[in-house]
């Protein structure tokens, strides 16, 4: 088996498993006042401090959620509502068109149900939003912008956005900028304070932590309107009993991800470069998606378009060879759609159907790359025969 879909989810680190299992048998609601509650709260708060340290944030800026999707929804909807409540003119949402669906669909929902005007910021052929594009969009009317949201790095094609420059532009106009950093955490130097972002999403299971836990890093001056109402946990922004075992494991995984980032980027980046080389050798007309410069893309991401192929066919053929990867794009009722990311970069819709994303991770080996090198040529040849039925 060659598991090359770490961007979908990556195996939990043994240290995180240990931290989680140690907590699973301990009783205590972190909101309770008795000894059991105090113990749980201490565990959660230490984890909060750890995670904050791993991300260059203050502990009070960490709002735990049940995952990346929830954090994205809280940032986008919550900041929109809060900013509009403060000034009813603020109904314009600026978003990159290459966002994950957790952002894109939340933004779309605001337009459908909350009177938002959504403006998609044009991206270049590599899927990157340039700071001057954001500036031009805000400058058209700085007073009506509710928020801007641009991901730190793209989950499909791996393109890294100039987050700090974008945040600087947004700050100039006092517009809060949110970034989904789910893919960036563990692969890039993600420093919340240095970035200048107002809000930032991270997720546990993408960095070797458990499923169902994430966090919204949230500047102390921002109070989004809650999406979930209840017990008032997490700065009254996100109600719900704290999932102490998951939080503890998330913090451990986060610490290791930050500590090992340099080595990971170098070693995994090396494997990725070999994989790209091997694919181009087997399929000379394969098109590498995103930024060809390794400095501009996630070190663990390799994304290809194979002209004349359907991504689904390639998946089936590679799966049969024990190679697990993804088309990279979302699906509707199981049917792969042409990737909205590729369409936004100006790729022809037919071409956009023939994509594969190989994403490496902490368990990837040279044998995984060799498996792809051996299988991709015949798979592409066969998929081309099957054509775009």
């Amino acid at each position: 088996m060659a598991y090359l879909d770490h961007a979908a989810t990556t195996p939990m680190l043994p240290e995180a498993v240990q931290a989680m299992t140690a907590q699973l048998t301990a009783t205590g609601n972190a909101s309770s006042l008795h000894a059991a509650g105090r113990r749980a709260r201490r565990t959660a708060e230490e984890a909060r401090e750890d995670l904050a340290a791993s991300l260059g944030a203050r502990p009070s800026e960490v709002v735990f959620t049940a995952g990346g999707t929830e954090a994205d929804n809280l940032a986008v909807k919550g900041l929109y509502w809060a900013r509009r409540d403060a000034d009813p003119r603020r109904v314009r949402v600026l978003a990159s068109p290459v966002e994950h669906h957790a952002v894109l669909d939340a933004v779309h929902w605001l337009a459908e149900h909350e009177g938002a005007t959504v403006e998609y910021l044009p991206v270049d052929a590599q899927g990157r939003v340039h700071p001057e594009v954001l500036r031009a969009a805000i400058e058209r009317d700085p007073d009506d912008v509710a928020l801007a949201t641009v991901m730190w790095a793209n989950n499909e094609i791996g393109t890294i956005m100039p987050v700090s420059e974008l945040a600087a532009v947004a700050r100039e106009f006092e517009v809060p900028l949110h970034a989904d950093a789910v893919q960036a955490f563990g692969q890039l130097d993600v420093d919340f304070a240095a970035s200048g972002l107002a809000a930032m999403t991270v997720s546990g299971h993408k960095i070797g932590g458990p499923y169902g836990i994430g966090a919204l890093l949230l500047g102390r001056e921002y109070t989004p309107v809650p999406v979930l109402h209840g017990g008032g946990q997490e700065r009254h922004v996100r109600s719900g009993t704290l999932d102490v075992p998951a939080i503890a494991a998330f913090a451990v995984a986060g610490r290791l991800a930050a500590e090992r980032r340099g080595t990971f980027a170098r070693e995994t980046g090396g494997l990725r470069d070999r994989l790209v080389e091997a694919v181009h050798k087997a399929v000379p007309d394969a098109i590498l998606g995103g930024d060809p410069d390794p400095a501009g893309r996630l070190p663990a991401n390799a994304h290809f378009t194979f002209p004349g192929c359907e991504g689904d066919s390639l998946l089936l053929l590679l799966d049969a060879q024990g190679i697990e990867c993804s088309t990279g794009s979302a699906c509707t009722a199981g049917v792969a759609q042409p990737s909205h990311v590729l369409l936004a970069t100006g790729t022809d819709p037919d071409l956009a159907r023939g994509t594969l994303r190989f994403s490496l991770g902490h368990t990837s080996t040279a044998a995984d790359v060799d498996a792809v090198a051996g299988a991709i040529g015949p798979a592409v040849e066969r998929a081309r025969t099957a054509g775009l039925v």
Binding site: D105, A320, G334
Partner: protein, 371 residues
């Protein structure tokens, strides 16, 4: 299973119990099976909110769940565009022209054993497996014959009568030799842990989810009021579109007053040109002969006239005929007059249990007049 060696099999899984058990049997027989659900309804929305009918999503999930239980890979293939062109538009156009099509035959001919089969073969599969009740017999010379299912009550060879020998060579029907009731198939599904065991059967046309064919056609073709006339041409009622009728139809005519003889009236003829529906007594439906076009043969086309049994509807009985292919048209004469024969329907010819071929009915000859 007729094949001794393990094959790479693509199992078309609708989400129903038959195709799930068929896939399970193929896997149990040692074949390398991959499940695929065909997404056949259009998806015009770019955002993923309720884009497809919920039934389709539920069927797709049921199919995937069954594949997981069987332990085979599962994919959803989007053949919506091909389905729309080859089946739905054909269905609408046929009704518009006053004919009565069978979309299941078209789907087997153009989608399951054409678009799907071609893609499967290109991807390295040897066969497509479905939950149809029919039997493929492998002759010693390597040729294949399509036969009725062992259990005549469940036989579905009629809707497969459009398959030619090449398509048949790559078809697998693991339920064909089942001499069990539907309840027993359900029991088998239950025994295999397939949750679809209790799922109700689907009877309707799959792309008309609410079963309202008239409403679907009215929506597609618009309402157009026209006359209902008797055999002498006298107007006795009106309708909202001739396309909504089928020859032999008795219900839904809404003619206010009874016929002179007091007997029920049936649709005898549909004329889309002047949007007129002709009705008359049941005897006037008696068809003695017909001409059918676009013949397809499961093997070599028969030379010269022959005697066969014929089936004219999916759940219809058998009737004795003589048939001869003349200049591409199949001329069929019935031993005894039959009723309810409509242009657009398929006639499938059998030699005993063997499917000989099929053709689309174009003209019918009645005892009195040729319509």
């Amino acid at each position: 299973m007729t094949s001794p060696r393990p094959l790479r099999v693509l199992a078309a899984m609708s989400g129903g119990v038959d195709s799930a058990v068929a896939a399970a049997r193929a896997a149990e027989a040692g074949h390398d099976v991959t499940g695929v659900h065909l997404a056949l309804s259009a998806n015009p929305q770019s955002f993923r909110t309720g884009a497809r009918g919920c039934c389709t999503i539920e069927d797709s999930r049921d199919a995937r769940r069954a594949a997981d239980v069987i332990g085979i890979p599962f994919y959803v293939w989007d053949l919506a565009e091909r389905f729309r062109e080859d089946v739905v538009e054909d269905f609408v156009a046929e009704y518009e022209a006053g004919r009565t099509p069978n979309p299941c035959l078209r789907c087997n001919e153009k989608i399951k054993f054409a678009a799907l089969l071609d893609k499967a073969l290109a991807l390295g599969f040897d066969a497509v497996c479905t939950g149809h009740y029919a039997t493929v017999v492998l002759n010693e010379d390597g040729s294949r014959e399509l036969h009725r299912a062992s259990d005549m009550a469940k036989d579905q060879s009629y809707v497969l009568g459009v398959l030619d020998e090449r398509q048949l060579a790559h078809a697998m029907f693991p339920l064909g030799d089942t001499l069990t009731t539907k309840d027993e198939i359900r029991a088998e599904a239950e025994r295999r842990g397939l949750a679809v065991a209790k799922k109700p059967d689907s009877h309707d046309i799959c792309f008309i989810a609410d079963g309202d064919t008239q409403g679907f056609l009215a929506n597609r073709l618009g309402k157009a009021e026209g006359d209902i006339v008797d055999e002498s041409g006298t107007k006795i009622g009106s309708h909202e579109g001739a396309f909504g009728f089928t020859i032999g139809q008795r219900k839904g005519l809404r003619i206010g007053h009874p016929a002179a003889d007091g007997k029920p009236r049936y649709v005898l003829d549909i004329s889309p040109v002047n949007n007129t529906v002709t009705v008359g007594p049941v005897e006037a439906l008696d068809v003695t002969a017909l001409g059918a076009i676009k013949p397809r043969w499961c093997g070599t086309a028969p030379a010269g006239p022959g005697t066969y049994t014929a089936q004219l509807r999916a759940h219809g009985g058998e009737t004795e005929v003589t048939a001869e292919l003349v200049d591409g048209t199949l001329n069929v004469t019935f031993a005894e007059p039959v009723r309810g024969v409509a242009p657009g329907q398929a006639i499938v010819l059998y030699d005993g249990t063997r499917v000989v071929g099929s053709a689309t009915i174009a003209t019918t000859e009645r005892a009195a007049t040729r319509v």
